[in-house]
């Protein structure tokens, strides 16, 4: 059992990890074809995984309705929404399931005029959340908070026409903050992230880090 649950996955990870890492340096068409094949496998597996995800989602909401969990009424809308989308997806403007997806169908209409605006509504809340988060953070109680507050005021004013009216130096100061200290910090973080990502990849490829397989070592 350990052989199936540990040894084989670790062997696959090692062989494919090394192969794909070196594939990056091989421009030959056989190498590109191999990468394409692997990508296709990835897509096929992801396609099957959608059913597992859908099962998990429906099972969760079915259980919520069954046991009358807090807010179970909302779960009904999951089934109604999924049912409507599935119906129009299969109906495909009368062409049926086996035909290519028709453009401008009811399925598209529901996506463009219901799901996209609903998503945009949630996204728009971000502005208010930003204001409340900024209010908490910009209370100048420490030196760092005070620095953050000053930098934020300069950048915010420097990025709007009002800033240039107050002083022509504000946009310049804002640009300097963004392109010098901000960029330096960003690159410092990226540098650490890149090395960390490589080190983690090596640990995973060589089977040193194997927590993602579940359980202990």
């Amino acid at each position: 059992m350990t052989f199936l649950r540990r040894t084989i996955p670790l062997a696959i990870c090692f062989v494919l990890g090394i192969t794909i890492a070196f594939q990056y340096y091989v421009p030959n068409q056989h190498s590109s074809a191999f990468l394409e094949l692997m990508t296709r496998w990835d897509k096929i597996i992801a396609g099957f995984a959608v059913f597992i995800g859908a099962y998990s989602l429906f099972h969760l909401h079915f259980s919520r309705i069954k046991f009358k969990a807090a807010g179970w009424g909302y779960s009904i809308f999951v089934f109604i929404g999924a049912g409507i989308m599935l119906f129009f997806g299969f109906y495909n403007e009368g062409e049926g399931l086996l035909a290519d997806k028709q453009e401008g169908s009811m399925f598209d209409w529901l996506y463009i005029y219901v799901q996209v605006p609903a998503g945009a509504t949630i996204f728009s809340i971000l502005a208010f959340f930003m204001a409340s988060a900024a209010y908490r953070t910009f209370r100048a109680r420490t030196v760092e908070s005070a620095l953050l507050l000053v930098a934020a005021i300069i950048v915010m004013l420097g990025r709007v026409p009002l800033g240039a009216l107050i002083s022509p130096y504000l946009p310049l100061a804002a640009d300097w903050i963004m392109s010098v200290p901000n960029l330096a910090a960003k690159r410092g973080i990226l540098l650490g992230v890149s090395l960390g990502a490589i080190a983690t990849s090596i640990k995973i490829i060589f089977g040193i880090e194997r927590q993602y397989l579940g359980g202990g070592d």
Binding site: P27, Q29, L57, G71, Y74, T137, G192, A199, I202
Partner: protein, 411 residues
């Protein structure tokens, strides 16, 4: 009528004289002695095949109003088809350092890359192709007789990525060496990471309050190294949650990540000796799209009043929406992300934030296993080397010596 005829005569004279003067110019400037010299066709190196490079020596007659046309044919005798056109003051070998390096003399030669499939779609790129040059000024074209040929072939190693390969091999060797060193010499010093020290505090608080712990992956799929790092941390947290006998809720937006997470949490409960406490319905996929996912997770936070929230992985715009909702419910929040654009949002709304590389160090930190800790030392040495290269590279580059900059140039 006489005026119109006169104007017409003047116009014809000007046009024909102009064209004649142009042709004369081309004849004079590009005589046999000033023909594009060293015309060469060759397989473009470091590619999958299908591209041929053409180079020729820059002419003293090159000027912004003179252009070169490259013609291609499958036969030495034509028919010819235009494959590329460049202004004679552009398209030098120095513009393609990935093939020719950074030497200054590369500016003396023109270089054009011809992608055969784009010019002759459906053709067999492995057979020889023939090329010739023409020079253009205004409407006048002078074709040269010299024909060169080359055959495109795929290469087995991309030499322009040699620097990348060397850095990767050296750094990998360094990581493996320090892992082996740490196994022989345990007890490595590790600076305190307060965000990870707070994990036990957060789990203890959740246990005391009798409320669940929420673990949120980022939005990236299983192929992302951030997600794998998050799953490694999930495993450590799940083991402690099982020991504390509290409820762990893991919400996903990717079915594969969900499946792996279910397996990881299940095994962690088993390892902690509490397989009975594992409930598969607590590790679920709530939505596959970004904002429905946000709404679902925010709903769980507000309805179930989670006592501790862990936001670990790669996040996009949902970071602030999730963390601010968690902050309003009064949960203790720990975030770890390598998404630097979202870091400010987590710092402002979470109690503890692990920045960048700390996400990758977290699993080793929580486990304290010497083998995992060893890689952290290699990362520190790698950082020191890069900082040194940046420092000396800046000084040398400011003095006009670009050796270090060129050494680290990626293609």
């Amino acid at each position: 009528m006489r005026l119109i005829v006169s104007l017409l005569c003047v116009f014809i004279t000007v046009v024909f004289h102009g064209t004649g003067a142009m042709a004369q110019y081309l004849e004079q400037e590009f005589t046999e002695s000033t023909l594009p010299e060293e015309l060469r066709a060759f397989d473009v190196p470091d590619d999958a095949g299908g591209s041929i490079g053409l180079s020729w020596k820059a002419s003293p007659a090159d000027s912004p109003d003179v252009s070169y046309i490259v013609y291609v044919s499958t036969s030495e005798n034509g028919p010819w088809q235009e494959a590329a056109r460049i202004t004679s003051t552009t398209g030098y070998k120095s513009d393609a350092p990935q093939y020719f390096g950074f030497r200054k003399k590369q500016r003396n030669h023109h270089f054009v890359e011809i992608q055969l499939q784009k010019i002759l779609p459906g053709s067999n790129v492995e057979k020889p192709y023939y090329f010739k040059l023409a020079v253009v000024k205004g409407d006048s074209v002078k074709e040269f007789d010299e024909v060169v040929s080359a055959r495109a072939k795929g290469n087995w190693f991309n030499m322009s990525k040699l620097n990348n390969l060397i850095i990767m091999v050296v750094f990998s060797a360094l990581v493996l060496y320090f892992i082996s060193h740490a196994r022989r010499h345990p007890g490595m010093f590790l600076r305190k990471i307060s965000g990870l020290e707070a994990v036990d505090e957060a789990l203890g608080r959740a246990t005391e309050m009798g409320r669940p712990v929420l673990f949120v992956h980022g939005l990236t799929p299983i192929g992302s190294i951030s997600t794998l790092a998050a799953i490694n941390i999930l495993s450590r947290i799940a083991t402690r949650v099982a020991e504390y006998d509290t409820v762990l809720k893991v919400v996903n937006n990717d079915p594969i990540v969900m499946t792996v997470s279910q397996e990881v949490v299940k095994e962690s409960y088993l390892e902690a000796g509490r397989p009975d406490a594992y409930n598969q319905d607590n590790v679920v996929m709530v939505a596959s799209e970004q904002f429905p996912y946000v709404v679902a997770v925010a709903g769980i936070m507000t309805r179930e009043k989670t006592a501790a929230n862990f936001f670990i992985g790669f996040f996009y715009a949902e970071s602030l929406l999730l963390a601010e909702t968690g902050a309003t419910t009064g949960a203790i929040q720990v975030a770890a992300t390598d998404s630097y654009t979202q870091l400010p949002f987590f710092i402002t709304t979470c109690d503890y934030t692990l920045m960048g590389e700390e996400l990758y160090a977290a699993s080793a930190y929580l486990s304290r296993e010497p083998m995992l800790l060893g890689s952290l030392r290699a990362q520190d040495i790698g950082k020191a080397v890069v900082i040194g290269a940046i420092f000396f590279g800046t000084i040398l580059s400011s003095s006009g010596i670009n050796f270090i900059t060129q050494l680290f140039t990626g293609f």
